[in-house]
Symmetry: D3
Subunit: 148 residues, 6 copies
């Protein structure tokens, strides 16, 4: 198989300590049980932010995962080109708006959290959205310099 | 004490699993023994990239660490305002140029690695520089949304 | 059917004179028999420039056409996220580089034409590439304000 | 004579089919009888958007036409440098604001149309403004690569 | 001594007429007795705008003066990295917001003046803030090309 | 008369000390007898940089002066829209390239001076070009906030 993950595994495998720490952190963020983010939500955040970071590996791999989890085959493609025009609920637009503010390293203010709250996301959810966006700000950049 | 680290500890402490994973990964990247990056080099990379991500906590805390490790009290301040005009060796300019290319999520090409090699950095060093830049792309963004 | 073209037809149909002139011009540019651009080349130019103009309708519709003509199912998706990292020949990179220079309204100089010539495109081909890019600079903008 | 149009005619004349289709479409958009846009309005839209596309031929030729139609000799020059500071009515500012949103390939929303309506432009006028802006997004780019 | 001012003096001294005119104008702006701007305010404006103009000499020299006048040792450093996150009063934020609008050559409107008035700055104070920002738009650029 | 200078005189007249210092500095820079810059050269620098600073008053007034001094009625208009496409000698392009680098607050390096030297400008001329660009970086910004 020649997909994304096997390549990342291979690229990072000669640094086993970093490799283990990377995936342990990935698991702590992505595979937690609590909160309001569905698996499809998490993948959509990764797709939208990885587009900004211009990482084809992440966009394509996580776009495929989004299609599987969401059962909406066209949505990820719309988000990839122009998320504001995609067929998203107001809740999902608010979620992506926050994720992209973190992605651009904007100053995050009380207003950001209040806007999320109006769409049903509490402070813990905001933390989850921001953490996924921040983690892929790192991962996308790693993908740019490791030999994929 | 009211500095950066105690605040980060406090902010992340209600998520102990993520907190441990974050610091384990931080240690894997920052405290490795091999390679050509001195402690001062690492802090300078953090300062230069955290400026781009507009994170005052990280810039000020790591600028102070750079002053301690480098014994060059004015250098970090110069890098903060305009790294290309700072009193840096060609080696250090090449190091920061690569770190900032990763920071901006530029496409990294063979040319980037060759330029580093001309200044004495091999592929493992390039990995170290890129990894610190990528890790702080994440950390700076986390600092923007956690309550510091 | 609810695809792109039926929607464009419907949106433009209440202005029959403009509608006919638009499609007559489209045909003059896209369906000419001469020159070195294959059907797949033309679709790839449309995909790459429509991404810059953030037009999801055009990107998705012409990405599908590219897949059909090129028989390369993954290429359009790579171009959508980061054309410089896509698995493209040097010829195709040169073609997209010129199309995107026109798309950004860059000043086009003798150097641009010479670079194309080094990859086998003569002045007539340059005209064709530029004309498709310019036509979709218009079409993408129309798509933003008509009711699709 | 060595003005803009003779040069465009000459440049496009070796492609007679494209040439005819271009001017047929130009006529369909620019010479329609209905709607609220005066000849001066249309020229002002062309001037303002051609500045963004950095096309000196179009700006100078259509600036001259604007002076003739509007009898306001200084207005086009003001618009060229800084349209928001020009001596324009609120209606004309709203018209240019919409034209420039289309010119930049912004997402056009219901709010854009409502703002135009508050200044007396209905949906058909919005279409006309947007179509002129889109047509010159194309023409300006063509002017960059044909030999003028 | 090898600080900023001795270097500027030296660099400009072979043009004595310009040198005298520069410092006469500097004095007219910086050393006037009237108005609501304290010495620390003026230095903070210089720091914030010189960061945008990427002038390390001015940022470091005037940051030091700000520390002396304000007795707030950490404030200038915060403003240097991200003025919106600095520990500033609403009044000081409004002052810097206006200074930075002038620094970026934004269109200044009645709204800008009204916002300043809500924080206690009248039109004369607005003039003073704008004039310092404009003067350092010049000085920072001079510093980039004279031999410091 | 209602032109630019009378308005500036009026706007600045209630601050006579600043007014005198501004014009004394203007004279020291613009009316010096030595060097290779003609009156037309100086006006062209002002036009090109004032466009970047979006100052219609300065662009229009100094464009008119350029037409008088240069006897080239169309050149300023070309420079206003797209200086790289204007009918300029290589010497004039080099002059404007340096002026615009200073205007953008770019880092000025030895290479900039060497490029100017290849077109016949020595270090004193570079100083003159840079000083005019820097002075109008200030003047254009003043024009944005005084009541013209």
């Amino acid at each position: 198989q020649t997909g994304f993950l096997p390549n990342v595994f291979k690229a990072m495998s000669h640094r086993p300590a970093e490799f283990r720490a990377f995936f342990a952190y990935y698991n702590a963020i992505m595979n937690k049980d609590t909160g309001r983010l569905s698996k499809a939500d998490k993948e959509l955040i990764i797709v939208a932010t990885s587009v900004v970071n211009r990482c084809p590996y992440c966009v394509i791999a996580h776009g495929a995962l989004h299609r599987i989890y969401s059962k909406q085959p066209a949505l990820a493609d719309q988000v990839i080109v122009n998320w504001k025009l995609a067929d998203l609920s107001d809740r999902d637009l608010a979620m992506l708006e926050f994720a992209l503010a973190v992605c651009r390293a904007d100053n995050i203010t009380e207003e950001h959290f209040q806007k999320l709250e109006r769409h049903g996301f509490d402070r813990e959810d905001a933390w989850d959205i921001g953490m996924i966006s921040a983690f892929f700000a790192m991962s996308n950049r790693i993908a740019h310099f490791i030999d994929l």
